[in-house]
């Protein structure tokens, strides 16, 4: 268990985040779950780059063992993407709250259904 501690943490974050997205109806909670899910990816990339006894990736004499810098760069990008997604998602939730008066997906579902299907029976909505 301890040997694969980092992997276990990664998987735990991944599964917990996904579970929140699936099970929670509250839109903000969903976004939090989504963020956790994304964080697991950061761990997945960065952890294997760390070498025991390695240093920061500085070019210079005497340093032969150093952490791989590439994952850090990649994950910086991924974090930016994640933050942007979260920001956009929260903005949308604010607008949804304004438009529907709620951020519970179940309560909005009825409104999404309107206008459906059977010709002539659709009901107008905003």
């Amino acid at each position: 268990m301890t040997a694969h501690f980092s992997q276990s943490a990664t998987i735990l974050l991944m599964v917990a985040g996904l579970y929140i997205v699936i099970a929670r109806g509250n839109m903000v909670k969903k976004l939090i779950g989504l963020s956790m899910f994304q964080s697991s990816v950061y761990l997945l990339y960065i952890l294997p780059g760390k070498l025991i006894g390695g240093t920061a990736p500085i070019l210079g004499a005497g340093y032969s063992v150093y952490a791989n810098p590439l994952p850090h760069v990649l994950i910086l990008t991924a974090i930016v993407v994640g933050v942007a997604t979260l920001a956009l998602g929260l903005t949308l939730v604010v607008r949804i709250k304004e438009a529907f008066g709620t951020i519970e997906e179940d309560e909005i579902a009825g409104d999404m259904r309107s206008d459906g299907s059977k010709p002539g029976r659709g009901r107008k909505s905003a």
């Binding site: 989504l34 899910f37 990008t77 909005i108 409104d111 659709g122």
Partner: protein, 493 residues
């Protein structure tokens, strides 16, 4: 000099256009910038296609870094095919967008709309052009973030929910993809697709690789709305602004299909069953389900945009079926349908957008007899509908013909019959639309309408005309699709 930088120009031009459009803050200026940028992008794309056809694979190293460290753009017959399709549709969308957007989006947001449209195009082109797995993820997210915004700009408040839903689902999809890429990176130590292919050869049977494939395939399947992961799509397309719907329906899922094809064929090898997993069997099953179930649901809808959106899910089924068949003819059919479907759905959504522009509604009940007052618009919609059915003389027939040949070639006669039988459903949902708009007595809404303005009709009829043209003279798209299929199956570009 410029010629050697074409691959990167493909992305820089729309990106730069997006910045300019955002800075302009003025609707018309932003539109002009978007139009010029997309025209230039299209020119670049055609130049690339021409060079690829002449010289084969084009490799471009960003900043001159070696592929091990930097990002490489690789344009081969497959990417060129997609790039040309996306940029051409984007250009037509820009022509279409001006009037449509003025009617649907409040003035102060118009500039942002074009910014997002260009960002979306840049992202989509980037996915097709890049040869770097992680870079593809970044572009995927660039286009997705722009798409969420575009959808949320729709007039209906339900557009917000549709955008939110797509944001969650799209992010999960992209994250699953990047997890898969991470696993590959851990196994091979590189993100360059060319190098991955080289190094994977020695890693056959690795369990990490199998899991990576699972994550990548499912992640992309979410983005391309493969049944049963399609549920975000209908509402997103139905409530987005018309111009955005045109672009998304014609290009977004298509680029995701490209990405899937890249991984299935180029990365994981021509034999798409890896390990014990019968990917092709799963994909065929899901494709067939997509051909039938969402198409059946489309029959019961009352909003024309939703009918067309659900039909898109069905049509994607034909495309993925082509991938799953994994033989030259079937794959050609799939890619050809990708191309043809972009044209016909573009025309259909442009037509219904024009109807919304004049009539203010896309509800079928309200559109009785609108063919009398908007004959050209509704005629384009009808042509697109006939192509969706696969009527001979339209492009839809040619692609279905190749798919059927592919299925027969693979020895799956029953599949060939299912392909044809699923057209029955298209007959029903297209027939319902055609019957209402042409043969019913005009309702109040229809009587007050006039024909759509030329700016909307022109791009719509270019696409509708192409649908007919490529149904009769199919040489060019078939040639493109066939050479792309050859490249995917491991042949020379």
């Amino acid at each position: 000099m410029i010629a050697s930088h074409l691959p990167v120009l493909l992305i820089i031009v729309p990106l730069l256009g997006a910045v300019l459009a955002a800075l302009s803050r003025h609707g018309f200026v932003a539109w002009l910038v978007a139009l010029l940028a997309s025209a230039a992008t299209m020119a670049v794309a055609f130049a690339l296609l021409w060079r690829v056809q002449a010289e084969g694979l084009i490799s471009y190293r960003i900043g001159g870094w070696a592929p091990e460290l930097g990002i490489e753009y690789r344009i081969d017959a497959v990417s060129a095919f997609i790039v040309v399709l996306v940029s051409a549709i984007a250009f037509l969308t820009m022509i279409y967008a001006r009037r449509s957007v003025l009617a649907e989006i409040s003035a102060e947001r118009v500039a942002w709309f074009y910014t997002m449209l260009l960002l979306c195009v840049a992202g989509l082109l980037g996915i097709a052009a890049t040869g770097d797995a992680f870079n593809a993820f970044v572009f995927l997210e660039v286009s997705s973030l722009a798409t969420y915004t575009l959808i949320a700009l729709g007039r209906d408040r339900r557009a917000l929910v549709a955008a939110y839903q797509y944001l969650i689902v799209g992010t999960i999809g992209a994250t699953l993809y990047v997890i898969g890429v991470g696993l590959i990176y851990l196994s091979t130590g590189t993100l360059n697709i060319g190098l991955i292919v080289e190094r994977l050869a020695s890693l056959q049977g690795s369990r990490a690789l199998t899991v990576a494939e699972a994550f990548i395939v499912v992640g992309i399947a979410l983005k391309l709305a493969l049944f049963p992961l399609h549920a975000w799509l209908p509402n997103a397309y139905a409530y987005a602004p018309s111009a955005a719907t045109v672009l998304l329906a014609s290009t977004a899922t298509k680029v995701a299909v490209y990405l899937l094809a890249r991984y299935l064929f180029t990365v994981f090898g021509g034999d798409i069953d890896v390990g014990a997993i019968p990917i092709s069997a799963i994909l065929i099953g899901l494709s067939v389900a997509a051909m039938f179930i969402p198409s059946a649901a489309a029959i019961f809808q009352n909003d024309v945009k939703r009918i067309l959106a659900l039909s898109s899910v069905g049509q994607i089924g034909y495309i993925t079926l082509g991938l799953a068949l994994a033989n030259q003819t079937g794959l050609t059919g799939g890619l050809l349908h990708l191309f043809n479907h972009a044209l016909m759905k573009g025309a259909a959504f442009m037509a219904i957008g024009a109807v919304v522009y004049r009539a203010g509604t896309a509800r079928l009940d309200d559109l009785s007899g609108i063919g009398r007052t908007m004959p050209w618009t509704v005629a384009a919609l009808t042509i697109a509908g006939l192509a969706l059915i696969g009527v001979p003389g339209t492009s839809g027939f040619v692609s279905k013909y190749y798919l059927i040949l592919g299925a027969l070639e693979a020895g799956l006669g029953w599949l060939a019959i299912l392909i044809v039988a699923s057209s029955l459903l298209a007959v029903l949902y297209v027939g319902r639309i055609v019957e209402v708009v042409w043969f019913r007595e005009p309702a109040a809404v229809a009587r007050e309408c006039r024909e759509a303005p030329l700016e909307l009709l022109l791009p719509m009829w270019i696409l509708a005309g192409a649908t007919i043209w490529f149904g009769i003279d199919a040489e060019w798209p078939v040639g493109l699709a066939a050479s792309a299929a050859r490249v995917l199956l491991g042949g020379a570009p």
